[in-house]
């Protein structure tokens, strides 16, 4: 008596193997779709920007005339924004992380703050824009200036810095802390002289990633009301400003009226993507070069 019909077994096996191969191919193709879209997107933007990125474009003032328009003001605005966001998120983010990791007892307050930070990370950016509009722009009567834009953006990216700093602080091994206590150092001395220096690479990586999120965000700034055409260059925290993504936004929606605006938008996108690429590369270099493994 035969328990296994050889022929049946063979055909079934072949079919199962075949299905597995087909599925593997499908999974691979699905993974490739992302790559294909990325290539098309970058190719499209690049070809549209050819001939538009020149010295005059980088250093000129905004203009309604496409040939004369430059993005120097938006570049300055983006730099100003980073100058506000970087220190604020660094102090607030690292402070919160130190408190949560080193001081807070694992209990109700700790998990409340932690859950709250996780939830904040999921709030749509436009809602932060409304918060900024209500509190900074209208409540404190600041208007759509660098300070209010920077504060709004800081609150938006704060969770990124907190979480990255927490991970960096957590990865500092316990024996370093104990060695420091063993030498007679106090808690704060241990944190400021041992834990923080050891976690600086992780913290910096987090801050850079947060900054690259901040300079690419548009929605909160649209909501706080940055106008389409700002001619003077900003030179203090209280000046009105515009940033690269805002310029992309206005040129894109107006490209239905003036075709060349699409080229200006593409050229600005190239500059923005280059800036993001540089920042992310720096983050990767810091992560690979300075991150010690204990």
């Amino acid at each position: 008596m035969k328990y296994v019909d050889d022929k049946k077994f063979q055909t079934r096996m072949t079919i199962r193997m075949l299905i597995n191969k087909i599925a593997k191919l499908m999974f691979f193709l699905a993974t490739i779709i992302g790559l294909v879209v990325l290539v098309i997107l970058i190719y499209r933007v690049y070809t549209q920007s050819i001939g538009w990125i020149d010295w005059q474009f980088l250093t000129g003032k905004l203009s309604t005339k496409a040939e004369k328009a430059g993005i120097f003001g938006a570049l300055l605005g983006t730099l100003w924004l980073m100058a506000v966001v970087a220190p604020i998120t660094m102090i607030l983010g690292v402070g919160t992380a130190i408190y949560l990791e080193e001081y807070a007892k694992k209990g109700r307050i700790h998990s409340f703050i932690q859950t709250n930070i996780n939830n904040l990370a999921g709030v749509p950016s436009i809602v932060f824009g409304i918060l900024g509009l209500t509190i900074f722009v209208r409540g404190l009567h600041l208007g759509a200036i660098i300070l209010s834009g920077g504060l709004t953006m800081s609150l938006l990216v704060l969770p990124i810095v907190v979480v990255a700093s927490q991970e960096a602080i957590r990865s500092v091994p316990q024996f370093l802390r104990e060695a420091s206590y063993g030498m007679g150092a106090t808690k704060w001395q241990t944190i400021s002289k041992v834990v923080l220096p050891a976690s600086i690479p992780g913290i910096l990586t987090g801050v850079i990633l947060a900054l690259s999120r901040a300079i690419g965000e548009t929605a909160p700034l649209v909501v706080i009301g940055i106008p389409a055409l700002i001619l003077p260059f900003p030179d203090s925290l209280l000046d009105k400003f515009t940033v690269l993504p805002m310029q992309i936004y206005y040129w894109t929606i107006d490209s239905a009226l003036v075709d060349e605006y699409a080229n200006l938008a593409a050229a600005t996108i190239v500059i923005l993507l280059l800036a993001l690429f540089v920042m992310n590369s720096i983050a990767v270099i810091i992560r690979n070069k300075f991150q010690k493994r204990y």
């Binding site: 992302g34 809602v127 209500t134 690259s212 992309i248």
Partner: protein, 319 residues
């Protein structure tokens, strides 16, 4: 001898004196620091709580003002949205359908492709392939949404119009598709995390029983990682609901109550952009409608985030 001991005694005393002296000069400051730092850091940690409170309070207060002017039921069941004009109508349904449709289209793209990408990366790909593909996904995730908006408006819509001539220049289909592409990396990386945390023993057990890789994935890995995978879908939906720039640019601003995806529609986020862009005077119903819509938006995304947290906590398989 006597003299020696005396001298030793005096040196000991001098060292102790030095220590005492130092204690007084420097310990005071550092003792204050030691007490003060936890308090300062706690205050800083409270800022995140204050932000949430700020968001909730501003939304709630202004929304209450709005519902003084427009009845609650009219807002949630009204199919007409005409914020300007002599007889303004504030029905949120056109915005809700816009948001729902664009998110549905996005998830229609992001769920299958994201899941398949996750399966490939976690179960099939060699280490080398993973090393190349994962950074590409990260780049895709790092592209600002405004760039996707530009891409949808200037490339995807014209491309789609050559297939579907009846497609309007601004429509909900094109931003929905592009939003789906944008969400793929998120779904893929979260699902992949869930799948690669399934212990290898389960994989090897199933393979040893003669299952093919596909059967292992389908009957062992996906059921074991199910909670994480569903949570990634829910977070993707939340992201799609809150996405602003792509829909603002590419889906237009017509406030029709329709389910026709080839037409121009407005989402909740795009409405907020339009109203704030128009500099609505504070105190008008139009101005308050901003907060009512934002509150609805916040409520939906918050619900989705809570749901995702609940799913991944409640249904997690522990090994």
């Amino acid at each position: 001898m006597e003299n020696d001991i005396d001298q030793q005694k005096s040196t000991t005393i001098t060292i102790r004196q030095i220590i005492e002296k130092n204690k007084h000069s420097s310990m005071n400051l550092s003792r204050i620091k030691e007490r003060l730092m936890p308090i300062i850091l706690f205050t800083i940690a409270l800022i995140s709580i204050l932000t949430t409170a700020g968001i909730l309070l501003t939304l709630i207060f202004e929304t209450i003002e709005f519902f003084k002017a427009v009845p609650f039921l009219d807002f949630f069941t009204g199919t007409k949205l005409k914020p300007l004009g002599a007889d303004p109508k504030f029905g949120v349904l056109p915005l809700l359908t816009g948001t729902l449709l664009s998110s549905a289209i996005a998830m229609f793209v992001a769920i299958p492709i994201g899941l398949m990408t996750a399966i490939y990366l976690s179960e099939y790909a060699s280490d080398n392939a993973r090393r190349v593909l994962k950074p590409i996904l990260e780049v895709l995730a790092g592209i600002p949404t405004i760039v996707y908006g530009f891409f949808a408006f200037t490339f995807v819509t014209p491309l789609l119009r050559s297939f579907i001539p009846s497609l309007e220049p601004t429509n909900i289909l094109s931003p929905g598709l592009v939003m789906g592409i944008m969400i793929i990396p998120m779904v893929a990386s979260l699902s992949e995390d869930a799948m690669s945390s399934v212990p290898n023993a389960l994989r090897e057990g199933a393979l040893a029983l003669g299952a093919t890789k596909l059967e292992v994935t389908w009957k062992v890995i996906i059921p074991a990682a199910f909670s994480g995978i569903i949570a990634s879908f829910v977070l993707g939906i939340s992201r799609a609901i809150g996405e602003t720039m792509i829909v603002t640019i590419a889906s237009g601003s017509s406030k029709n109550f329709t389910f026709d995806i080839t037409q121009s529609m407005q989402t909740m986020t795009a409405y907020i952009v339009e109203v704030t862009g128009g500099e609505a005077a504070a105190g008008t119903t139009l101005y308050y409608s901003l907060y009512a819509v934002a509150m609805t938006l916040f409520f939906f995304t918050f619900l989705m985030n809570l749901l995702a947290q609940y799913i991944s906590r409640r249904f997690r398989e522990e090994y």
